[in-house]
Every structure is written in structure tokens, then in C-alpha cells.
């Protein structure tokens, strides 16, 4: 295994570590979503209002064309 290959593997590991907190956040959201849908408990006023406000902000941003920077298509990096 040459040094370039090792470097690529190390970069891949660094990328995975860097991504972990974000992936965990999405996984937690999925878990909460499933729990809410399948559990017998009532979705409270507070939960409803929080969801409506959050989704309302997403909707307003989309209608205003407020695209996050990481959703933009950018030129390929120069090696």
C-alpha cells in the first residue's frame, strides 16, 4: 500500500468522523418521527406549534429562494 493510498484512506476516515454528528442528528430525528407516529401518546400543543413554526420557516425560505450554500452547485475542486 503506497503513501497516496494511505493518505486517501485517512482522508476518508476524517470525513466520516467529521460527518458523524450531523448523521446522528438526522438519525435522532428519524427515531423521534417513528416514535411519534407509532406511540399511543398524544402529540401535544407545544409539539404541534413547534412543528408548524419550523415547517413554516422552511416553507418561507423556499418561497423566498433562500438556498443554503451547500445546496449550490459549485465548480469542481482543482486537484
Amino acid at each position: 500500500m503506497n503513501s497516496a493510498t494511505i493518505q486517501l484512506i485517512m482522508q476518508g476516515i476524517a470525513a466520516a468522523i467529521s460527518a458523524a454528528p450531523q448523521v446522528i442528528a438526522v438519525a435522532n430525528k428519524a427515531r423521534e418521527f417513528v416514535a411519534e407516529l407509532f406511540s399511543a401518546r398524544v402529540i401535544t400543543i407545544e409539539q404541534q406549534n413547534k412543528m408548524m413554526a419550523h415547517i413554516g420557516e422552511m416553507q418561507a425560505a423556499a418561497l423566498a429562494g433562500a438556498k443554503p450554500p451547500h445546496w449550490e452547485v459549485e465548480p469542481d475542486p482543482v486537484p
Binding site: 460527518a19 438526522v26 418521527f33 398524544v42 407545544e46 404541534q48 408548524m52 438556498k67 450554500p69
Partner: protein, 134 residues
């Protein structure tokens, strides 16, 4: 996480008629019927959007390393970025229409856009593990 969005789509269908909303909330206003279908659609869209957002952010934050592993990762996600933003704008318009006029046809339109977003999210989350081949 693989295929979790597909499972959630089934969950959405199975529970779409349930009424477990506390009266008085945004989805069950006083004097009106509960709108669990909208709540479920909103929660599912939030999850699909979050998945796309996370994949796009992870790739951008680690672009140099991932591009060195395979340029196809960025290229595949760039294609999805364009499509996902178009779907996001369509979703916003569909939701706006449903809120203004909450009839079944508008709910169906909203759910169709949601299904499209979920498909894109499933595709996006497979891009990095598969080296750019969704």
C-alpha cells in the same frame, strides 16, 4: 438509515387517519377538525429535507477528500442538488395551496411532492457510501 424513508412512507400511510393530536395545537385549532395528515406530511418532509441537507453538507464540508476518492460523488450530488431544490420549491407551493384550501386534491398534491422528496433523499444517502453511484 438505509431505506428508512421508505419505511416511514408506509408509516405515514398506516397512520394517516389517526387522530392523536391534542386539541388547541396548530394542527388541531379550536373549532376545527384535527389535521393529522398535514402533521404527518410535515414531519415526513422535515425528515426527508434533513437527510438531503445533511448529505449535501457532509459532502461540501469534506469536498477535497471525497473528490479525491471519487469525483462521481460530487457530480451525483450536484445533480441531486438541482433536483432537490426544485422539489423543495414545489413542496412550498403545494403546502401553501393546501393551507389556503385544505381539500383532498391539494393534500394529494402535497403528498406527491413529499414522495418525490423522499425518493431523492433515499438516493442521496446512498451516494457517498457507494462512491458516487446512487
Amino acid at each position: 438509515m438505509k431505506n428508512i424513508l421508505s419505511i416511514l412512507t408506509v408509516a405515514l400511510l398506516l397512520t394517516g387517519c389517526a387522530h392523536r393530536l391534542e386539541p388547541g395545537g396548530a394542527y388541531y385549532p379550536p373549532g376545527q377538525q384535527a389535521d393529522f395528515a398535514l402533521y404527518a406530511a410535515d414531519a415526513a418532509y422535515d425528515l426527508a429535507y434533513s437527510t438531503l441537507d445533511t448529505v449535501f453538507k457532509v459532502e461540501r464540508d469534506n469536498r477535497a477528500a471525497l473528490f479525491a476518492i471519487s469525483p462521481n460523488i460530487k457530480h451525483a450530488l450536484d445533480d441531486l442538488r438541482l433536483r432537490a431544490w426544485g422539489v423543495n420549491v414545489r413542496w412550498a407551493h403545494a403546502r401553501q395551496a393546501y393551507l389556503a384550501n385544505p381539500v383532498p386534491s391539494n393534500l394529494t398534491a402535497l403528498q406527491e411532492v413529499l414522495a418525490h422528496a423522499q425518493q431523492l433523499a433515499v438516493t442521496a444517502q446512498a451516494v457517498i457510501p457507494n462512491g458516487g453511484n446512487p
